[in-house]
């Protein structure tokens, strides 16, 4: 017997209009100003490069937390759908890390790309740059 697929009406609710509009407003208001300024952008990238996953406190100095601008940027970059999201795959423990792509569904295949890095920090930073580039492309900013 043939089965019928029900397709929903094309509504603002179905398109998640509320979320996407607020998200767009937040990016334009709180994130893009720092990215539009090449000097500030280079500083944020350098800051991430120094401590991609944060770092332990050292005696006599304050904890090396990320700056508020970098925190906001990283948090937004991590809010992407699970399907196609970057991940790190340990290919040789403590020696080689591959960039992987999540399937976004249970039981699906995690794609392991040819991109390899020597440390987990390098891989973390590379993913940060991939996501940053994608965000800037979306808003027509030259990287």
């Amino acid at each position: 017997m043939a089965t019928r697929r029900k397709t929903g009406p094309d509504t603002a609710l179905a398109r998640d209009y509320g979320y996407t509009t607020v998200d767009d407003y937040d990016i334009r208001t709180y994130i893009l100003p720092a990215l539009r300024d090449p000097v500030r952008r280079a500083e944020l990238i350098a800051e991430h490069r120094a401590h991609p996953r944060g770092a332990a406190s050292q005696p006599g100095s304050p904890p090396p937390n990320h700056s508020p601008d970098l925190k906001r940027l990283i948090d937004r970059l991590r809010v992407v759908p699970q399907a196609g999201k970057h991940t790190i795959v340990e290919t040789i423990p403590w020696q080689e890390y591959a960039i992987g792509i999540l399937p976004g569904r249970r039981g699906g295949v995690v794609k392991i790309t040819r991109e390899r890095h020597a440390t987990r920090e390098d891989a973390e930073h590379a993913i940060f740059l991939h996501r940053l580039r994608a965000l800037m492309d979306r808003y027509g900013l030259a990287y």
Binding site: M1, T3, R4, R5, K6, P52, R53, G54, D75, R78, V79, P81, Q82, K85, H86, T87, I88, V89, E90, T91, I92, P93, W94, Y97, A98, G100, L102, P103, G104, R105, R106, G107, G108, V109, V110, I112, R120, A123, E124, I127
Partner: protein
């Protein structure tokens, strides 16, 4: 489908976690590609491979089981269901099937992946298309199948979708004399039974249906498939059986089928009758909480009338499913479906199934549940008298290779001999916490994992196998694909985040078992004698076990001790 690269190709579990010298422990091993593997029993000292620390430490122990074995591919038959062993009284010609049902993935799961055909009440062999069964089809419509084998089957649906999280009265009947088929799904929404949202968004007519058909195929052919609820039969006899432990009610082993068409959602008051009942009779049958309340002529038509509330006040984890009908066709719960959950008639006056079992008469089924992998045993080790109390593992290496995708460790814990402590210090292993955090799927299935942990998760070969196997039953920090939290966690299946060398998503490096090996290493290097106990031992034997020691240590996160 593309094969997953870098995935762990061997794994396993033990039949018990804590043993004494003289005890036997069984190992159950799965080999993804049926390759030969080398077994070595090792004592684990330090599990952290980080080159900035002391590094991985293990000592090979010579035992009779060390050696080379042929790998066996052993799948897990996940998914909870109820089974009533095959009985000729269930091979009906005319029939009525009815129940209350509350589907939680009528078409797609929480990741919008189509779930496919799901079975509610079936005596159906899916390989031969024989028998009968009430299903939910790919479009989310209630469907009746009648099959006579050799692909001769008919299928009738309500042609309207069932909605997620709405209680329905569902059923179908077939009259072998007239060939008339009836199938119906009627929303049963009260102010407290949970389906309010959908009922407000959609008019009743969008989902209510009662449809008649005429079939010329003839009655269903008898099948040796058991009667299943929340699944149908792929293979009537899987070679795996249940008895003892949480199946203590079974006097003899009962062989399980291999099941398919696994259902996510709740079922309550399932009934089978051996004739096509009228609509009024079905109403009576479903409304009555007890078969004894029904008139004689209706009672005589009943083949099975299972009462899920009958024995939950004493033990809601019971695997015994009471048939209150005239034939006592009692069922068995497999893979621990969730009992004592709110039913179609939940009034909100009670918060516990112990106080009002009659309002908690539903069972929630999930297609990913696992109570026991039920793999064939691969080898058994008798713990030698000379084996010091400690943390041990069977190290498995495919063709002897130590590559990360070829190597797994199955940990176990050796206690001191029964005649008393061998040290002043006892270290109590937090097995219950390892179980609570077992096989989480945060790295691949949680959209907030990267925000939660402040980093991109690292996937190791074991994580990739877990992803493929949908978590081997998952753990209590995860959710089933219908969005409900996982409420059981078993050690009778591989727990791949309870391994040396494992890096956990929740911490920058280690967590639970592998983090506890830091303490084991420190005690070892400092020269302290330590007796290893497991919290399961303390649970079983009480505080007297600990009173033998001046010093008792716990590990880094003994949250459920």
């Amino acid at each position: 489908m593309t094969t997953q690269q870098m995935m762990l190709r061997i794994t396993g579990y033990t039949d018990r976690c804590s043993v004494r010298p003289g005890d036997e422990i069984g190992f159950h091993v799965h080999s993804e590609f049926e390759e030969f593997y080398q077994v070595d029993i090792v004592r684990l000292i330090h599990g952290d491979t980080n080159p900035e620390g002391p590094g991985f430490k293990e000592k090979v122990v010579r035992t009779p089981v060390n050696g080379r074995y042929r790998g066996q591919h052993q799948p897990v038959h996940a998914g909870s269901y109820l089974m009533v062993p095959a009985d000729s009284r269930l091979d009906v010609e005319s029939f009525t099937l009815c129940a209350y049902a509350y589907p939680t993935t009528p078409t797609v799961d929480c990741e919008y992946v189509p779930v496919g055909m799901q079975a509610l009440l079936t005596k159906w062999n899916a390989k031969t298309d024989t028998g009968y069964g009430l299903f939910i089809n790919e479009a989310g419509e209630l469907t009746l199948r009648i099959g006579r084998g050799r692909r001769r089957l008919v299928e009738y649906s309500t042609r309207k979708p069932l909605f997620r999280k709405v209680w329905y009265r569902v059923g179908a009947s077939y009259d072998a004399t007239s060939g008339e088929v009836r199938i119906w799904q009627i929303p049963h929404v009260t102010i407290t039974n949970g389906g309010h949202g959908m009922s407000m968004l959609h008019p009743h007519e969008d989902t209510a249906a009662s449809v008649r058909y005429r079939s010329s195929l003839g009655p269903p052919r008898a099948t040796d498939a058991p009667f299943l609820m929340a699944a149908s039969t792929l293979v009537p006899k899987s070679g795996r059986s249940v008895q003892g432990a949480h199946y203590a009610q079974l006097a003899a082993p009962v062989e399980l089928p291999e099941h398919t068409h696994k259902y996510n959602g709740r079922i309550e008051r399932p009934r089978v009758a051996n004739r096509a009942l009228s609509a009024a009779e079905v109403e009576l049958l479903l409304a009555a909480s007890s078969v004894q309340q029904l008139p004689g002529e209706l009672r005589e038509a009943i083949v099975g009338a299972w009462d899920f509330s009958a024995n939950i006040a004493e033990n809601a984890a019971s695997t015994h499913i009471v048939d209150a009908g005239p034939h006592g066709l009692h069922g068995i719960a497999v893979n621990m479906p969730v009992r004592g959950v709110t039913g179609f008639n939940w009034s909100s006056d009670y918060m516990s199934f112990r106080h009002a079992p009659q309002e908690y008469g539903a069972i929630h089924f999930h297609d990913e549940s696992v109570d026991d992998a039920r793999w064939e045993p691969s080898f058994r080790l008798k713990i030698p008298a000379s084996m010091k109390s400690g943390v041990y593992a069977a190290r498995l290496r495919v063709n002897g290779s130590s590559d990360p995708d070829c190597e797994d460790y199955i940990p176990f814990f050796v206690r001191p001999p029964a005649d008393g402590p061998t040290a002043k210090i006892a270290f109590v292993v937090a097995m219950h916490s390892y179980l609570a955090y077992a096989n989480d799927n945060l790295s691949v299935n949680s959209v907030i994992a990267q925000l939660l942990t402040g980093q991109v998760p690292l996937l190791q070969p074991g994580d990739l196998l877990l992803n493929k196997e949908r978590g081997y039953g998952l753990g209590t920090y995860t959710s089933y694909r219908d969005g409900w939290g996982v409420n059981i966690s078993s050690r009778l299946r591989p727990i791949l985040n309870m391994r040396p060398k494992y890096i956990h998503v929740l911490s920058p490096s280690l967590w639970q078992f592998n983090a506890d090996l830091h303490l084991v290493d420190w005690l070892f290097e400092m020269g302290y004698d330590v007796d290893i106990l497991v919290d399961e031992d303390v649970q079983r034997e009480g505080v007297a076990l600990l009173k033998q020691y001046p010093v008792v240590l716990t590990g880094h996160h003994p949250e459920y001790m």
